[in-house]
Subunit: 277 residues, 2 copies
DNA sequence: CGTCTGCTTGATTCCCGTCAACACCCGTGG
DNA sequence: CCACGGGTGTTGACGGGAATCAAGCAGACG
């Protein structure tokens, strides 16, 4: 750990400043990294769900198969992400997870998360924030899949990845990045056929909006793309500092005096918000 | 509260037995219920996000508007659900919430959740389980929207609601229930046009799979419907007792001795799961 | 009894899936 | 050096599922 700041620490720090204790606690989740090859399976639908996994290097995705043989990608994981949070309350995996490219992952059992709940109030809160952010991400993708046409879907997805990389990968240039996905993966991700992904990419290229060669993508005209995709990055850029600053916490587990603090008084009504449609 | 068991307590109890202390703590979230009319707005996209809200009575839904004027429902809330968890890490609402029918809700500030993190390990864990379950629900809906045709979408949705009601509403008969949604809401929920919802309902009716009149739905042939929709209720029926029994907890906040328990030792490797595609 | 809202049904259009042929890249082996 | 083959991306022709537009219908309610 000397000199090297782990992905997960960086990820958590994005939400709130961590004490050294918290950092250490967090790092216990990242023991024993193991390398995994491109295309390897971390787990399959139906496997026992007893662990989470942090992604240190490489991209990964979770997916579901359907009866008709098609496949839908559920989530795309970038370095620093936690994989498998979804199955915390479940005994079986509900989706498989595969690596897009060679990478490094660290498994840790569900119980470690419970330990974390006991030991660190700040980490608990951040973890909850991460879970809620993940939900927001999925929600946005849901809207994308349900209501937009192929062009918008693709544009939106490219913008999402670009923004996420910007936040987690220091120094990546906005709008130009490595994109190791095959068009088949794009298809499974966006609910399209591979053929149509190709066509749509061409269309965006002809419109001068994106440039792509091999596995590298450049977004040429971000404002136009955002307009096209109805993209609003606010859903990706929030954090929880405002919450904590409104209600300060000691960075470590609160002393008993703090614990005895009564909950903030019942919220005083007078909403005025409730309005008939 | 005397004699009456609140929805939220019942909801949490589904995951794990609650101590009296926990029940009391939980009930502080449900102070000051207020009645809300059908069609009223709890909040709109872009509003400040400082509170959650528990739904005591009536159905509600969250939604997003798109640039082109169409609308996508994101989540459907039934009595006992917590509304707004998604925005825990955000300062603004990312989706609006409206009531389907007359009901009762209880607002409580985000900070109350932080108090809960400090005070009850069990409630924290359950809350996390609820959040993860919500994510699973959205994920399933995402797959539904992305990959299935209108018939399957509708069938799947009806099955989902049926199953959820079965779990939270005691004594509701499986496969026959009150369904207060207009076809326009179905459309916004399933990513279809209202016209096509009507056609699809007719098709399912003709096939002898569902019966519907006014706002009451009966699922006539559950096995056939499940086959049709590729529906697997496992994603809805798990809970977290296995996790806790594998790693018992005192029901109240752990004594210091418990806190000092070292985290379970680093997970011992030997996966054997990692396989090349 | 008239009006309003929500549901149904028909005709037409269009986006995207499917099928199929072909180009391309790259590693292998002769 | 070229031939070969598999995986991946491109392009065209065709068809189908669902959107859209529009008109008719049925309750609900004043």
């Amino acid at each position: 750990m000397e000199g090297y700041e782990s992905c997960i620490v960086r990820h958590f720090s994005y939400y709130y400043e961590l004490s050294e204790d918290d950092k250490a606690l967090l790092c216990t989740l990242e023991q024993s990294p193991m390398t995994v090859e491109a295309g390897s399976t971390l787990w399959k639908e139906g496997d026992d769900a007893k662990e989470f996994c942090t992604l240190k290097k490489g991209w990964a995705y979770s997916y579901r198969f359907l009866e008709n043989g098609s496949r839908q990608l559920v989530e795309l994981y970038l370095p620093g992400d936690i994989i498998g949070l979804r199955e915390f309350a479940f005994t079986q995996r509900l989706a498989g997870v595969e690596m897009v490219e060679d990478g490094e992952v660290c498994f840790f059992p569900h119980q470690h998360l419970l330990d974390l709940f006991r030991r660190s109030f700040v980490l608990t809160s951040i973890l909850f924030a991460i879970a809620s952010r993940q939900q927001v991400l999925i929600t946005e993708r849901l809207v994308n899949l349900a209501r937009r046409n192929a062009r918008q879907k693709l544009a939106h997805f490219l913008l999402e990845v670009s923004q996420r990389l910007l936040q987690t990968q220091r120094g990546s240039l906005s709008g130009s990045f490595h994109m190791p996905l095959s068009q088949e993966l794009f298809a499974d991700l966006l609910g399209l056929s591979p053929v149509h992904v190709s066509r749509t990419f061409s269309a965006l290229h002809e419109a001068g909006l994106v440039h792509r060669e091999r596995h590298h993508v450049t977004l040429l005209d971000l404002p136009a793309l955002k307009r096209e995709a109805d993209f609003d990055e606010r859903y990706l850029i929030d954090n929880m500092r405002p919450l904590f600053t409104a209600y300060p916490v000691s960075a470590t587990r609160p002393a008993d005096s703090a614990v005895e603090t009564p909950p903030t008084p019942f919220w005083p009504g007078g909403r005025g918000l409730i309005a008939k449609r």
